[in-house]
Homo-oligomer: 439 residues x 2
């Protein structure tokens, strides 16, 4: 067979994929049994899968892209992250809106387990670059969510240029984060016009999502920085076990949980009237991202007693040092023969809502390990992500206090920082991410 | 309760973990049902798990550490990698041997799903650093394998110093790799005295393993470089689907498979008599590691036709351009109206054993994505790992040819390189990794 045999065949004589191939279509070949999405999965995928990916319920999980809020916030935290901050290279508002529309369409497709576009020689166009890069072909949705946010620079550059005519619509809550004590921020790991948070249970699916959004943005926006993460460090659902961070402690025991909708409404979602100049943010949230390096080697050489005193919980079970088990409330007043059972500079004490005027955050961070530094130390730590309704009251005062007083700070170095206004969700297929901002 | 209440209680009054806590012990609390190891797992872990990790058969998988060959070579490739190269800071042969003994003990424990050492206040030693860092507490074995290898520098430094009295035992096959056309190697990503390849189905387990080995090595060896990887890019077993690399193509279709023991014996394991000066390597293998960056953005803008011509397979199915389906043998002689169906400079043609005097390798590489470069490009590609019986005939000539002639080379940049002699396995609990070298 040669390329001239039939008009419908591809140039290499492979007729089996004419008309394009979707990730879904591929599952019939490569991942049979793994697509039964969501709660109805049951045991069939477990029983029939021959690979780890196919065997796992987590692989078949799929979350809706459309809804009043963006997915990836109260969604039960997936295990892997690829986070990217983009800078726009265009100054055209029309091109920005067009990018957001293209990104919305691609994100909806990829979230459902399809490619960013039709894969393959659609219409016989073998001589065009593919509309999907291919590395997720055959992989199930894997719980992918894609969440978009807008940085302060989108609303006016540092030089005062309002590139997109958005300055008047900048939310008052989208503050420039202040310099916190001990900050060692690297500009190349900080800020950005637009962020994309891709979470999935398979890193290949998360990386595929960011890579295809970057491909679509060619000529309009470029990646400013990106960060991979693994081992979600907070549970965001009561159905999840509490995971451990790279200090070896359980993290997120006291985190806000999606099931507590009253608390989520109070602390996470922007409500109508919150900010009269930025009603477009109703149903959205604010995201604070901090790349926090840990001095792993120093930590590993400190005693168990010191580690537990610094955190304020026991390392094994995660119970407060005031007693009980993991989910026992802290007793900040409990005294032992040597003073407070939870030391005055313990992390859990200083971070507790009762010590911060009730301020709480929905944390959604990930561990990271980016190889080693020139000194042979692990370049690793916590990529902190937190969603709040108002960063001015829920993040800034707390971080000021922690950076100043928290015993843990000695072992941390904040190397990256960014803040984003995360707009509400896209309610149907005719909408696009951020459309309320441009309305 | 205060710290002085009972002698057996911890200083913080938490009595529930006295006597130390193992990862296994923890499973009763945090991962119930997930430890049934190996093939006998059945459905119970699937059915009972409330988290992705617990739900997955891949999580409960466990491989034996002891055996005639090291695990992690013909073991069905796990999904995640943390690879580290260490440099020794000691010049004491006794300290080197002691390190290998400590590493062996810790590796055997961690492979079985335990901590690197007993976790917790063993003997009440709250004032000592823990013998395990804790972040894998509660996590099942996750298919962890830990594989050790020795670099050329262990047998004598560049300055000619034979630090450990091993120069006479250096295998002839452990060559210094030559400079290949186009090499852009970074010293900080290349070479090393000893390598540790940790593979697992959970990155947190792989990172935990390397981190604890680095902790144990404190004062004797430091990490020179390390690399994380995901989405194994080669299947090493006929039971595995063929995964895709970041070019979007299936990779490893024609790889050696563990089930073909005759081919493995011929191409992977060092046999008695192979190298009279290095009989200690019998049952071992040689590992070539190459960090290969891909020009992702350029690739993504090339046409599907060009991509398929460069690889020599169709992108969707992975079938050779000479026709058939994924596992159809290449027909290198097939001609179409425009010349060979598999172009003369296609990757699959140039790399095929029939074009290389029968040379074959057991590839075991991983995709990597290390964020972005200063230019906003993905710092991503393939971390190539290949096990061979003799790098001089199985890797060096092939890479010389590919670097010179392969159409794919235009899209690749080799940024890291290393070679290691991987000694035979540890046959029982009294042995240690590399003991034949020191006998």
């Amino acid at each position: 067979m040669t390329s001239s045999d039939t008009a419908a065949a591809g140039p290499h004589g492979n007729v089996h994929h004419r008309g394009g191939i979707s990730r879904r279509g591929f599952l019939g070949v490569a991942g049979a049994g793994a697509l039964a999405a969501g709660a109805g999965l049951g045991l069939s995928a477990c029983a029939s899968g021959s690979t780890p990916a196919a065997a796992s319920a987590a692989a078949a999980e799929a979350f809706a892209f459309h809804g009043p809020n963006q997915a990836g916030i109260t969604t039960p935290a997936q295990d892997r992250l690829h986070f990217a901050a983009f800078d726009l290279t265009t100054t055209s508002r029309a091109e920005l809106v067009d990018l957001l529309k293209q990104w919305t369409a691609a994100a909806a497709r990829m979230t459902a387990g399809d490619g960013a576009g039709e894969y393959g020689p659609v219409g016989g166009l073998y001589d065009a670059p593919p509309d999907d890069t291919g590395e997720a072909l055959g992989l199930p949705p894997s719980g992918l969510t894609i969440t978009f946010g807008f940085g302060p620079s989108l609303f006016g550059s540092a030089s005062g240029t309002d590139r997109f005519g958005l300055a008047a619509r900048r939310p008052a809550r989208l503050v420039d984060l202040p310099h916190f004590p001990g900050d060692a921020l690297e500009p190349a790991r900080s800020n950005g016009d637009i962020c994309v948070q891709a979470c999935a249970n398979d890193p290949q699916v998360a990386v595929h999502a960011v890579r295809n959004l970057a491909r679509i943005a060619f000529g309009v926006a470029t990646v400013r920085w990106s960060q991979l993460g693994f081992g979600r460090t907070s549970s965001t659902s009561t159905a999840q076990d509490t995971p451990r961070n790279l200090m070896g402690f359980k993290d997120g025991t006291a985190n806000l949980k999606a099931e507590d909708t009253a608390a989520i409404d109070e602390h996470v979602w922007v409500a109508a009237g919150d900010d009269p100049a930025a009603e477009w943010m109703t149903g959205g949230s604010y995201l604070v991202a901090r790349r926090i390096n840990m001095h792993i080697e120093t930590w590993d050489r400190s005693s168990l007693r010191e580690q537990e005193a610094i955190i304020g919980r026991d390392k094994g079970e995660g119970a407060p040092l005031s007693g009980g088990t993991e989910f026992t409330e802290l007793d900040l007043d409990a005294e032992g023969s040597r003073g407070p059972l939870i030391p005055v500079d313990a992390h859990v004490r200083l971070a507790h809502p009762s010590e911060n005027g009730g301020a709480a955050m929905l944390r959604r961070g990930y561990n990271f390990a980016d190889g080693s530094t020139d000194l042979g130390r692990l370049d690793a730590g916590l990529f902190f992500l937190a969603y709040v309704r108002d960063p001015r009251t829920q993040y800034v005062p707390l971080q000021n206090k922690l950076a100043r007083d928290d015993a843990l700070s000695e072992y941390l170095r904040h190397t990256g920082s960014a803040i984003f206004a995360v707009p509400p969700g896209v309610t149907d297929a005719s909408g696009f991410v951020g459309e309320t901002l441009f309305a």
